[in-house]
Subunit: 350 residues, 2 copies
């Protein structure tokens, strides 16, 4: 099938760019004491997880139980749910998941340990290393770790996501913030060891810090996800990964300095700002509505109604999550259709 | 089933609030020369369309062919796709749709007319009445209308969405902007009539202007959608509709002035700002990540990990579009599970 046969909007992945990104990240971690555990939340697509597994990685990271269930159904069996689970309706599903895969979860409270304590899971103590989100403050980690060790959960170590470093564009400032966060996390790991508690895993990192956090002695795995498909936000960071995902859109209207495309808020996430056009299109994005992107056109804008243009997503994770399928392309050929199988939320009852 | 049995995040609709909203809007239009044509894009849920049809309405408005296909499959047969269609891969689907429903589309260019000219559809000339988006400038409408009349398309009239008025909170300014837009649109309608062209339909309006635009003589139908479920943005406008949709979330973590919920960017759209908490929860939303909402908690915040809280969406259309199901609730009972059947995009090949 040709690209021109796709109905728009269509979210497309350049398979060669994807392959290069995945290979570059895998190569970075080859032979290191720190492993790559790709974050599945960035694409939710088993076909892409297979590309990552083929290039080499130590299992996968997930943000939700739903994502872990999808990966387990595809035979992936070393899964970290790098998130707290406090929803009591999910414990039966967790138990069933643990029958098919080695599952590690994050805990940051006694309530979390109490809910999961009888399940055949491993656990990491999630430590707040500076991002205002989940994680026990460093001083409280030993108490949580002891509670894990006293339960049926297997204590494997600690995690701490330095997400507050991830968005700092200046590399040296980003590195400094990440190093401070990891000093906190490794300090907690030492405290646990001194207390006689098991710390085999120190899990952290992301696409913005993989080569900083991933080279700090003591960090055992990095949870990067965005590097595979990338987006315009990370593209500004000078990382060795290129944008592999773009949204194909049809021009609906061209009138008096405006042009309108048929992809809007329901095809492209805007939490990191509007998507962007390719550099060679003389226009800029004004705003998005549900099903439209309005462009301000410059001199030389030549596209007419019915023509097609690419939009470059600003934030890959929530953009892919809007789509049920990704189209795997090479130049103007559509090679495959990939299901974004972990999109959305499973519900009770199913 | 009880609310407590739902896995989170779960997007829930209070059926009584929905019913009152729908009834109020239907009652406003009863006996008027202007009809209500509810916009399906706001919820994409056939079960809600049935509530709207039962209360009384003149067919439905859609933003996409996909939405119209879903409504037609549920037996709704008077459908306006209030949007330009320039994607040539969709003409066969449009032809098939026209076999099962009376379908009207919007056109604003000769290219649009050329693509659709042999299809058994009706058409409205989409006029730009001030919103920088689709629509021919008023001076160009007669040319497009003539092209429609010279094709196999049936010319039915004009539409013009005064979306630039919709977000003005001050009622008098909003009304003034809407009236100016409608004066433009009705002026175009008169021009077409003088030129001997058919203008049976003048379609416009939305939830923010239904009682302004809907009472201007000559406007024949209003395309309001958000009124059924509402959101925090429209809730500030003093309209006679109440918020019927909320997202149930589980508290994952409570630490040092922060609390974190298990619903984030993939459960709640943020293009109109962050979701909000109910007024009686002493906390405020700091920011959203993919699967988290971080709250800054005030004195008296009593929720603990495992408890549940409601989040109130800021923009209903893209929020519902993130979910595959809506849970129809009354108090703590789950009465029904409704499929958001028109969520996402159908693709070629299917």
């Amino acid at each position: 099938m040709k690209l021109s046969e796709l109905s728009t909007p269509a979210l497309c992945v350049d398979v060669d760019v994807l392959q290069r990104n995945v290979e570059r990240m895998a190569a970075f971690f080859r032979g290191r004491s720190c492993a790559l555990r790709p974050h599945f939340k960035a694409h939710k697509t088993p076909a892409i997880a297979r590309v990552q597994a083929a290039a080499g990685c130590a299992g996968f990271t997930c943000a939700t139980l739903d994502e872990a269930e999808v990966l387990a159904a595809h035979g992936f069996d070393d899964l970290l749910i790098a998130n707290e689970l406090l929803d009591s309706t999910k414990t039966d599903r967790l138990r069933a998941l643990a029958d098919r895969a080695r599952v590690t979860v994050a805990v940051d409270s006694l309530a979390g340990v109490a809910l999961l304590r009888d399940l055949p899971l491993a656990a990491l103590v999630d430590v707040n290393v500076g991002l205002p989100r989940c994680g026990v403050p460093p001083g409280g980690a030993v108490e949580i770790a002891r509670a894990v060790a006293d339960s049926h959960l297997q204590l494997r170590g600690v995690m701490g996501y330095e997400g507050h470093a991830m968005g700092i564009m200046d590399r040296e400032s980003r590195a400094q913030t990440a190093r401070e966060a990891m000093a906190n996390l490794l300090g907690v790991a030492d405290e646990l060891r001194v207390a006689g508690l098991e710390v085999e895993v120190v899990s952290a990192g992301g696409t913005g810090t993989y080569d900083i956090t991933g080279t700090i002695p003591g960090v055992t795995e990095v949870q990067a996800g965005s590097y595979a498909l990338m987006d315009t936000t990370y593209a500004r960071f000078g990382l060795p990964f290129a944008e592999a995902v773009r949204c194909l859109a049809t021009v609906l209207s061209v009138q008096g300095g405006l042009a309108v495309l048929d992809a809007g808020l329901k095809a492209l996430a805007v939490d990191h700002g509007s998507p962007e056009l390719p550099d060679d299109v003389p226009a800029s994005v004004l705003f998005l509505s549900d099903e439209h992107t309005t462009l301000a056109t410059d001199a030389g804008f030549a596209a007419r109604p019915g023509d097609r243009l690419w939009l470059r997503p600003s934030h890959v994770d929530p953009t892919v999550n809007l789509h049920d399928r990704l189209f795997a392309i090479r130049s103007d050929e559509v090679l495959d259709v990939w299901r974004v199988e972990a999109r959305g939320y499973r519900a009770s009852p199913h």
